[in-house]
Symmetry: C2
Subunit: 214 residues, 2 copies
C-alpha cells in the first residue's frame, strides 16, 4: 500500500520505518520538499521511501498519517490541501502538547475538544482514526515488553477504517482497544499525558499500556 | 488502621470490603446515619465495619476515601466539615462523570481542571491522592487478570502519602504507577473515560490497565 506521512519528527520516521519493513511504499512530507530530516530518513530506509511536500505526501498516500506537532495540524492540512484527504484513512498520531510551562506538558486542546476532533472537523471527508498517540515511538514497531504485547487505544467514527487500522496495528505487533467515536480522542490525548508524566517521573521511557483481560 | 469512606455506592462498598479483609476498621459515611446501603454493607461484612454520617466517617478515619459521585464531592466535603480531613491522606476514587447526554459519559470537570484538583483546593490541609478511579470496582481487591497484576495510576502532591497509598495498593494486589502531582488527575479522570468507553463498546467490563516494562 502507498502511505503518506505528514511530519518528519521521531513519530513520523518511526512509523515510516515500520511501514517500509512491512513492504509498503512511504512518502514523507514536510513544509518543503528536500527537508533535511526527510532526506536523511529516505537515505536510511532505502527502497520504497521517498519524500516531498505535505501536499505530495497527502496525494501519494492511499492511507495517510498525521505526525506533525499536534498544534500544527491545521496549518499542515491547509498546506497539503483538504482534497487530498478525501475518502482516505487518516491515522492521527499527534498530541497537542503545550510545553510553555515546562515539564510535564499540558494539552493545548482539552476538555470538550481534542486534536483528533479538530482534525476530523477540518477534514470531514477523511476517516480520522486516532492511534499511535499513547505509546513511545521507539516501540512502535514489533514492541517487546514483559507480559506483552502492549495494546494501542484507538478512536474514530468509521468502523471499517478502524478495522483496517487494527489490522495494521497487528502487523506492527500491537493489540487494539477501540474506544468508540472520535470524541474518544479527548481521553487518548490525556492518556498520552499520563504516559509522559509516568515515564518522565521515573526516568524510564520504555513503558507501554496494556489492557488486561480476566 | 481506621478508614473512613465517604459514599455508599459500589466503589465505596468494594473498597470497604478490601480494607476489612486486610484487617482494618472501616466506617462508611452517608448523608445521614442509618443509610440503607450502609447498613446492608455493615451487615454483610461484619466485624470491623460501622456506618454513620459523612462527618462521622471523616472524623473516624486516620485515612479517608472519597467515593461519592464525583460531581457531589464539594457537597459531601461541606457536610463532613473540612477540619476532619486536616493532615490525613484522602484517596480520591471519584470521577466527575456526566451522563446527561447518555452513554458514553463525558467529564463534568475537564481540560485545565479535574475533580482531584477541585478536592485538593477545597481541602488544602488534606493529602489528596487520586487512586482507584481507573479500574472497575469488582476487581479492586486481589484482581486476577491474564498477564496481571494490573497497575493503578495515582497522582498527588505529597510523596509520603503516595508511598502509603502504593503500599496499600500492593496489599490490595495492584502495582502502582505514579504520574506526579495532583494535576495528573486530569489525565487519570480521562483514563476512566477510556476505560468506560472500551468496556462499554465491547460489553466486557473485566478489563484493567497495566503499564508494561521492557
Amino acid at each position: 500500500m502507498k502511505i503518506g506521512i505528514l511530519g518528519t519528527g521521531d513519530v513520523g520516521r518511526a512509523l515510516g520505518r515500520g511501514f517500509i519493513a512491512l513492504g509498503h511504499e512511504v512518502k514523507m512530507g514536510a513544509r518543503s520538499a528536500g527537508h533535511e530530516k526527510a532526506l536523511e530518513w529516505v537515505a536510511e530506509v532505502g527502497e520504497g521511501a521517498s519524500e516531498g511536500t505535505f501536499a505530495d505526501a497527502a496525494r501519494f498516500g492511499e492511507m495517510l498519517v498525521m505526525a506533525t506537532l499536534g498544534v500544527a495540524n491545521p496549518e499542515a492540512v491547509e498546506m497539503a490541501g483538504a482534497e487530498a484527504f478525501a475518502g482516505k484513512i487518516l491515522i492521527d498520531a499527534t498530541n497537542p502538547l503545550d510545553f510553555s510551562k515546562g515539564f510535564p506538558p499540558t494539552l493545548a486542546i482539552a476538555g470538550n475538544d481534542s486534536a483528533g476532533e479538530t482534525l476530523q472537523r477540518l477534514l470531514p471527508r477523511a476517516k480520522v482514526v486516532k492511534a499511535f498517540n499513547t505509546a513511545g515511538n521507539r516501540h512502535f514497531f514489533r514492541p517487546k515488553f514483559q507480559d506483552g504485547p502492549p495494546d494501542m487505544f484507538i478512536a474514530g467514527n468509521d468502523a471499517e477504517a478502524k478495522n483496517k487500522v487494527a489490522d495494521l496495528l497487528a502487523d506492527f505487533g500491537w493489540g487494539t482497544v477501540d474506544i468508540g467515536d472520535i470524541t474518544g480522542a479527548r481521553a487518548l490525548e490525556a492518556m498520552c499525558i499520563a504516559w509522559v508524566r509516568a515515564c518522565g517521573g521515573s526516568g524510564n521511557w520504555d513503558r507501554a499500556f496494556k489492557f488486561l483481560r480476566t
